[in-house]
């Protein structure tokens, strides 16, 4: 620890030296961090560029686990990255060291100084983050997260509460993906006024159906009440019952009374009574407490000064993860009883959720988000080039990916990494036509194992992945590679520089894509990213932009050999084997399971939790159901992050 402090002092000294030389304040580290996040992180925190931890004072081109230094940087390996060197380099990298692959410039001297000051802090051990540290100033329940229900969660909830025959016809607000997940993006989403109009109209239509004469008998907990007291009790049961299911917690007194006020006295007549109930239900369905998942933390009675996620928020998090719907009666009961705060109670519920057939629904929703399958809604292919493509093929491709994932990981409980090497899948008649295989079933879908000669090894060789991550008229090794890194390795790729000439890449009538990309990579500003993103995509080049098998492009034989991080591989099967053994892949899944369920990427405080989850995942043979269950029974899974600024003014009613 002493040594670490010494190094930190030494680096800060470098930074201060620079600060003296340049017009920058020593407290500009925050500014530097901001610049780092926007300009450096995209490459240096993934495998495109070497890590910058400890860069200040480090010898040039000396990170041992980074194999892709340019020859230009290697030729300067006798130098060290002193603040002065960094300052000159960052001003104009390619002028200072011609041939470097570094494309980012920081022309402003103050910004360079701030960035170098921040870089000086990297590589020092962070102050130990205490996940159990007391939260000061909050002694009542407080809202810690608000996430908008997505379309499938809304539909599942309505179906579960009111019946599958209730029609939900509406245009839902668009989702936004952040950190690779819509579940994370939804945590930042609000609602437009036009969107609210849609939800309000939908609430009216659902309430009208639920209280339609044909359903009233099952929806309303009583027949026509004989007197006012009975009517009030009936209405209260109605509002409380549906309110708890929709809000995923009991209603507060105020919430209940405001809805009951909409129900007229029984003397107004039977129709008026039911219209009142319909209004009350509409109000519940249009309420933010239904449309948004509100997570609440409360003071932990067993740990003074600390917060814990309350029982109902825990129930909702579990239910949406495992079933992609609101908590059922049993889970709400467990929340109310406090069972979700003790290990045995929590484990019972998690086992029940994971053991249900509805678990598949939760897994489908997770992979729908993770694999970015919403992209099929707007997928376009040039009909002249890919005449077989139509909406049925698009929908079927998406469904094939989901069926394959559920089949392998849930039904067969196989190793998660098998998704990259397994030939087992499901097809329907439309997909069989695109794969050019006979469809040997009378059913709509059937299990299918691709013969080896079709080269369909793993999920990445399915039409879904191949067509979704391609252009309308051509394949795209780059897009496929970028998405592979983003989805399976949690390594996003930064946007290309604004001044790149794409004309050579886009000339789809010239040679093969490989050749065109090699031309494109003559631009040194592009090569750093492309040498990481393209190899996996080039291995998939036996599949065109729709995912159809081909061996030639523009009359030239397609070469599907590739090299990534020093490893050579050939075709989809070679790529699959490479990915199967890549340690980043299970770690990324663990990160995504948490991010998906919590609606945010895990912070540093959760690193031990994630590391232990990855280790247990490996020990268990990389079984997804086991991973989800282990994570869900951990207290860390419900780790509370209090939003900055949250305090007394944000505290929610204690009665909730």
């Amino acid at each position: 620890m002493k040594q670490v402090r010494y190094k930190l002092r030494q680096r800060l000294a470098f930074g201060l030296t620079l600060a003296c030389a340049l017009p920058v304040a020593a407290d500009s580290v925050d500014k530097g961090a901001e610049i780092y996040r926007s300009a450096c992180k995209g490459c240096h925190e993934v495998s495109i560029a070497p890590s910058l931890e400890g860069v200040v004072g480090r010898r040039v081109a000396s990170v041992t686990n980074f194999a892709d230094y340019s020859e230009a940087l290697q030729a300067n390996s006798d130098k060290h990255w002193t603040p002065e060197e960094l300052n000159r380099f960052l001003e104009a990298p390619r002028d200072y060291i011609p041939g470097t692959l570094m494309m980012q410039t920081v022309p402003d001297p103050q910004e360079r100084a701030a960035l170098i000051a921040y870089l000086t802090t990297l590589g020092t051990e962070p102050a130990a983050l205490d996940i159990t540290a007391p939260v000061s100033g909050i002694d009542q329940p407080v809202t810690v997260a608000v996430r908008r229900l997505n379309e499938s969660q809304y539909r599942n909830t309505i179906s579960d509460i009111f019946g599958a025959d209730i029609e939900v016809k509406a245009r839902f607000e668009p989702e936004r993906r952040e950190e690779g997940l819509q579940a994370v993006g939804n945590s930042d989403l609000s609602m437009t006024s036009a969107g609210f109009e849609q939800y309000f109209g939908l609430a009216q239509r659902i309430a009208a159906q639920a209280l339609d004469e044909t359903r009233r008998e099952t929806t309303v907990p009583c027949s026509v009440p004989a007197n006012e007291a009975a009517a009030r009790a009936c209405a209260a049961d109605f509002v409380n019952g549906y309110g708890e299911q929709l809000f995923r917690r009991p209603l507060s007194e105020q919430e209940r009374n405001s809805r009951l006020a909409l129900v007229p006295e029984v003397s107004a007549g039977e129709d008026a009574f039911h219209q009142g109930l319909e209004l009350a239900l509409t109000s519940l369905l249009a309420a933010p407490e239904f449309l948004f998942r509100v997570e609440t933390a409360e003071p932990d009675p067993d740990n003074e000064g600390h917060l814990r996620l309350d029982g109902y928020s825990r129930a909702a998090r579990l239910s949406f993860l495992f079933w992609n719907t609101a908590p059922d009666e049993e889970l709400l009961r467990a929340a109310a009883s406090g069972e979700l705060f003790n290990a045995a109670g929590l484990e019972n519920q998690v086992q029940r959720l994971a053991g249900s057939p509805r678990f598949e629904q939760g897994v489908r929703a997770f992979f729908y988000d993770l694999m970015q399958l919403d992209g099929f809604d707007n997928l376009i292919k040039d009909p002249e080039i890919y005449p077989k493509f139509n909406q049925v093929v698009a929908d079927s491709s998406r469904e094939q990916m989901l069926k394959t994932l559920v089949g392998l990981l849930v039904t067969d409980d196989r190793d998660y990494r098998d998704i990259f090497v397994s030939n087992d899948t499901y097809i329907n008649r439309s997909l069989a036509a695109v794969y050019k295989v006979p469809y040997t079933s009378d059913a709509d879908w059937t299990e299918y194992t691709f013969p080896d000669e079709l080269e369909r090894t793993g999920l990445l060789s399915q039409i879904g992945f191949l067509s979704l991550f391609a252009h309308p008229g051509t394949s795209s090794p780059t897009r496929r590679g970028i998405k592979l890194h983003e989805i399976f390795m949690c390594e996003p790729t930064p946007d290309p520089p604004a001044d790149v000439d794409f004309s050579k890449v886009k000339d789809s009538k010239a040679g093969t894509v490989r050749g065109r990309l090699l031309d494109h990579m003559e631009n040194t500003g592009c090569v750093a990213c492309h040498r990481r993103s393209d190899p996996p995509g080039l291995a998939l080049e036996h599949f065109d932009g729709l995912g159809q098998l081909r061996k030639f492009e523009n009359g030239q034989l397609i070469d599907v050999s590739a090299t990534l991080n020093g490893a050579d591989f050939v075709g989809a099967s070679g790529l699959g084997e490479l990915l199967h053994d890549d340690e980043r892949i299970p770690a990324c899944l663990v990160r995504n399971v948490y991010a998906y369920s919590a609606g945010r990427v895990p912070d540093e405080a959760l690193s031990p939790f994630l590391s232990s989850s990855v280790a247990a995942f490996a020990e268990d043979g990389y079984r997804l159901p086991g991973l989800m269950q282990r994570m869900a029974v951990s207290e860390d899974f419900f780790h509370v992050v209090v939003p900055s600024g949250a305090g007394a003014s944000d505290q929610v009613a204690a009665s909730q």
Partner: protein, 415 residues
């Protein structure tokens, strides 16, 4: 019912146990009467096939007057403002223009032959059915002896005339097929080593209940799977050979019945032959030809609502009757019998597809007849029950049409 299952089982056993050396299968994506088009553009314009253009538009008032109606009656019947002109009733009274106002659709010979413009060009498409190179047309590629009297007879009727895939009739019926009304599949098997040159080839044309599927370009997509549906009526089995990828019949099939792209759905072909070329793109193009009974061609149009057909397609149906009868060129009863059949060719385009056994378990690997295993099935005219004697009678009786119909209402003179 029991016999039905036994038959199906027998067919399945046969297909499961007998395997040809090679197999190719297709789905028909377009088929139309092989009508050579001799003009540059336009359906009705003159061309080498029809130097005067198509059969001309008809002056129906003149026709009705010649049939014995007064000018006032004819004008009233043809006035779009009058109820008998409504599409629903299809100008039913037009049927009754035979002798003594007989129904010309059911009794065309009560009406003098109005004449039909026939093809006078020398080029025609199809096959040499009688092995006589001195009769018939010359093909566009110079082959002599092409027998297609159906084309000679009806090739200048605007319903049939037009460039490939663009005549009105072909468009209408192929659209229906391509939108899922019916599906025909083709299975080709051979016993030799080289599918393109094989002396022992069999071709089966069958029905399927699986619909054609269109891609994003609006065309039928290849490579879909189609379960063969055994059919009592529609089936064609041919023995053939391939030479350089061209499949030709070794001996004519005595009788095949295909699903015709027409109102008359049953295309019966006697002495049927085919010539289909395996194209480089995997498709199959060519002809299926033979002698077909001519009367169903006529009744097919009559049953499609005679007045509607006549008004829209510029023919008087009795002229079709007379022309077909006059030009019929084959008699199954022998050379001395009345010719009941007419030579015909169907132009066929088929795409590669997977033709599966009826239970979908495997690809059909042998060309055999499935007729005996097929359930009883009645082929119904699409207008069956609606059309009576070529017209759609007004069930209310308000707009009665018939030999004794009063044409002019009492106040017609004031209208």
């Amino acid at each position: 019912m029991k016999r039905q299952y036994l038959g199906l089982a027998a067919a399945l056993v046969l297909t499961n146990t007998a395997h040809a050396e090679w197999q190719k299968s297709y789905v028909i994506e377009w088929n139309e009467p092989a009508m050579y088009y001799g003009a540059d553009t336009g359906v009705i314009d003159p061309g080498t096939d029809c130097p005067a253009g198509t059969n001309p538009e008809i002056d129906w008032i003149d026709v009705l007057v010649r049939a014995g109606y007064s000018l006032e009656e004819a004008q009233w019947l043809r006035n779009p403002a009058n109820p008998t002109r409504s599409p629903r009733h299809g100008q039913n009274q037009m049927a009754f223009r035979g002798k003594d106002r007989a129904n010309v659709y059911t009794h065309p010979e009560t009406y003098p032959d109005p004449g039909l413009t026939e093809v006078s060009g020398a080029i025609g498409e199809g096959l040499n059915l009688d092995s006589n190179s001195s009769t018939g047309f010359t093909s566009p590629t110079g082959e002599k002896g092409i027998d297609n009297t159906f084309y000679k007879t009806l090739g200048c009727w605007k319903t049939y005339r037009g460039p490939h895939r663009l005549s009105g009739g072909a468009l209408t019926f192929n659209d229906a097929m391509r939108n899922g009304a019916w599906t025909m599949v083709v299975v080709v098997t051979g016993e030799g080593d080289d599918p393109r040159n094989d002396e022992d080839v069999s071709v089966g044309i069958y029905m399927s209940d699986d619909k054609l599927v269109k891609g994003g370009d609006g065309e039928v997509s290849p490579d879909y799977s189609f379960r063969l549906k055994p059919h009592r009526v529609y089936e064609g089995i041919f023995s053939a050979r391939t030479i350089d990828g061209v499949i030709s019949t070794r001996e004519p099939s005595e009788k095949v019945v295909l699903r015709e792209p027409a109102f008359n759905q049953e295309l019966e072909l006697l002495q049927a032959q085919l010539r289909l070329t395996m194209q480089d793109d995997g498709s199959l193009q060519g002809y299926v030809a033979g002698y077909r009974p001519w009367m169903p061609i006529y009744t097919g149009w009559v049953d499609a609502r005679g007045p509607v057909i006549e008004s829209l397609t510029w023919v008087e149906l009795p002229s079709v009757y007379y022309a077909l009868k006059r030009n019929a060129d084959y008699s199954p009863a022998g050379a001395n019998g009345e010719n009941t059949h007419i030579s015909y060719a169907l132009r066929v385009s088929a795409l590669p597809a997977f033709v599966m056994t009826p239970d979908a378990s495997q690809e059909v690997s042998q060309v055999v007849s499935y007729r005996d295993s097929a359930p009883e099935e009645v082929v119904r005219n699409p207008f069956a029950g609606l059309v009576v004697n070529g017209i759609v009678p007004d069930r209310s009786g308000k707009y009665y049409a018939g030999p004794d119909a009063v044409i002019l209402p009492p106040d017609a003179a004031t209208q």
